[in-house]
C-alpha cells in the first residue's frame, strides 16, 4: 500500500513522459564542448603563473618538502597574526575588521607516509554574514556540501575538510555571493567559469 501511495498518478506520469523527451542535439555542440575541454587541459599543462611555489611540484625532493613546510608555517603565521590583530582590536575597531572580509586557508597537518591521504585543511573566513559555505574543485563546487561554522560571539567562520595534496581552486559563497579569498593567489584558469582562489596542499 505504501508503494501505491507513492505512485505519481496519471497527471504526473504524463508530465514525466513529456519531460523524458530528449532535446535535439545542435550540430556543432559536441565539437564545441570537445574543443573547450581540450583547451582547458592544455592550459593545465602550461606553466601556471599562480603556482607561486614551483618547487612543490617536485615530488620526493627534500627541497620541496622544506619549502612546503616553510610555506605552511608562513600561512599559519599570517593566520595567527590576523587572529591576534582581530582579538586585540575587537573592542575598538570591530566594524572596520568586519567590513573587510578576510579568509585564510591553513593546511592543518600533513601525512608524510601516504601521498594519497587527504590532508585536513582548515579554511577560515572573517566577516559578517548569515551563512558562509566553501565551494571548490575538492567538493565538486557543491554549494551545500561544506558550510562554515561561526565561532560564537565573533565574525570568524571556519571549516576543516580533508583535501588531496595538490593545487586546488576554491571560493566562498557568502550569503550566496561568490567571494574569492583576498589573501590567496587568484586562479588564472578558473575551474568553475569564474575567478577562484588557489591553495596548495602538501606536496602535489
Amino acid at each position: 500500500m505504501a508503494e501505491r501511495r507513492n505512485e505519481p498518478g496519471p497527471i504526473v506520469e504524463r508530465a514525466i513522459e513529456s519531460l523524458r523527451e530528449l532535446p535535439p542535439i545542435e550540430g556543432d555542440m559536441v565539437s564545441r564542448i570537445v574543443a573547450a575541454a581540450a583547451r582547458s587541459r592544455a592550459q593545465d599543462a602550461a606553466p601556471d603563473a599562480d603556482d607561486l611555489l614551483p618547487a612543490l611540484a617536485a615530488p620526493n625532493s627534500r627541497y620541496a618538502l622544506r619549502v612546503s613546510v616553510i610555506a605552511a608555517a608562513a600561512i599559519v603565521l599570517v593566520a595567527g597574526t590576523i587572529e591576534l590583530w582581530r582579538v586585540t582590536h575587537a573592542s575598538t575597531e570591530t566594524t572596520r575588521v568586519a567590513a573587510v572580509p578576510q579568509a585564510v586557508a591553513v593546511p592543518a597537518s600533513r601525512d608524510v607516509n601516504g601521498d594519497l591521504t587527504p590532508i585536513p585543511t582548515q579554511f577560515v573566513f572573517d566577516g559578517r554574514a548569515r551563512a558562509v559555505t566553501l565551494v571548490g574543485d575538492f567538493n565538486n563546487w557543491d554549494a551545500r556540501a561544506t558550510p562554515l561554522e561561526r565561532e560564537p560571539g565573533s565574525t570568524l567562520w571556519s571549516v576543516t575538510v580533508p583535501i588531496q595534496r595538490g593545487r586546488h581552486v576554491y571560493a566562498y559563497l557568502v550569503d550566496s555571493v561568490w567571494t574569492i579569498d583576498k589573501r590567496a593567489p587568484v586562479a588564472r584558469d578558473p575551474d568553475f567559469g569564474v575567478t577562484g582562489s588557489v591553495i596548495l596542499v602538501g606536496r602535489p
Partner: protein
C-alpha cells in the same frame, strides 16, 4: 490540443534503467587524454545532460553553458575518476552542482527577468481564455516544473526522468533516502495540483 490525445495513451512505461552506457575501456582512454574517447562520451551523454539542465535552469542558452562547463570539468577531473563510482552518477553529480551554482550566481541579476517571467506566465495562464496562443502540454509541464523548489526538482528529475534509484541518488547527493522520497513527493504534489486544470486524461 496535445493533452486530448492522452486518452489513448498506454500507462507510463517503467523508468528508463540508468545503466552505464560507457565501458571502462572508453573511460580509461579518456582518462589518459584520448580526446576521441572523450568525444564519444560527450555524444552518448549530451542529450541526457541537456534534458536535465533544461529542467533545472531557465533557458536553452543557460543550459548550453552549464552542460559545456560540466563536460569541461569532467574532462579535467577524469584522471581522478575512480571506477568504483558509477560513471553516470559521477557525471550527474558534477552536472547538478554546476546547475545549482549557475542558479546561485544568477539570483543577483534576476530582478528584471522575474518581471518578464511573470508577464509570460500571465499570458500563458489557462485561466485566461483570451490568451492569444495555444499552449502545449509540454510547455505547461515545464512552467509547472519551474515553480518546484530547486532542491525538490533536482531529485524529481534524477529519479523519474533520468531513472536513478533512490539508493543511487543518495550516493550522488549525499541526502538520505527518506528525505529524497519526501522531495519527490512534494514535487509530484505540486505538479499534480498545478496541472490538474489543464490535464484532459
Amino acid at each position: 490540443m496535445t493533452q486530448s490525445s492522452s486518452l489513448a495513451r498506454p500507462p507510463l512505461p517503467d523508468r528508463e534503467p540508468a545503466r552505464p552506457v560507457v565501458d571502462s575501456t572508453l573511460v580509461n582512454r579518456a582518462k589518459l587524454g584520448d580526446i576521441k574517447a572523450f568525444e564519444e562520451i560527450v555524444e552518448r551523454y549530451f542529450a541526457r545532460c541537456m534534458r536535465f539542465a533544461l529542467g533545472m535552469l531557465r533557458d536553452r542558452a543557460e543550459a548550453d553553458d552549464v552542460v559545456q562547463e560540466t563536460f569541461v570539468r569532467l574532462y579535467r577531473a577524469l584522471p581522478r575518476y575512480e571506477e568504483r563510482q558509477r560513471f553516470d552518477s559521477w557525471l550527474f553529480r558534477i552536472l547538478g552542482n554546476c546547475c545549482r551554482t549557475a542558479n546561485i550566481l544568477r539570483q543577483r541579476r534576476d530582478a528584471v527577468d522575474v518581471e518578464d517571467e511573470k508577464t509570460l506566465r500571465s499570458l500563458a495562464s489557462p485561466d485566461r481564455p483570451d490568451a492569444v496562443f495555444d499552449y502545449e502540454w509540454g510547455d505547461e509541464v515545464r512552467r509547472a516544473l519551474a515553480e518546484v523548489p530547486e532542491h525538490n526538482r533536482e531529485i524529481f528529475l534524477l529519479h523519474y526522468v533520468e531513472g536513478f534509484s533512490y539508493e543511487e541518488i543518495e550516493r550522488i547527493t549525499g541526502v538520505r533516502q527518506s528525505a529524497l522520497k519526501m522531495r519527490v513527493k512534494r514535487a509530484s504534489d505540486h505538479l499534480r495540483a498545478r496541472l490538474a486544470g489543464v490535464y484532459r486524461g
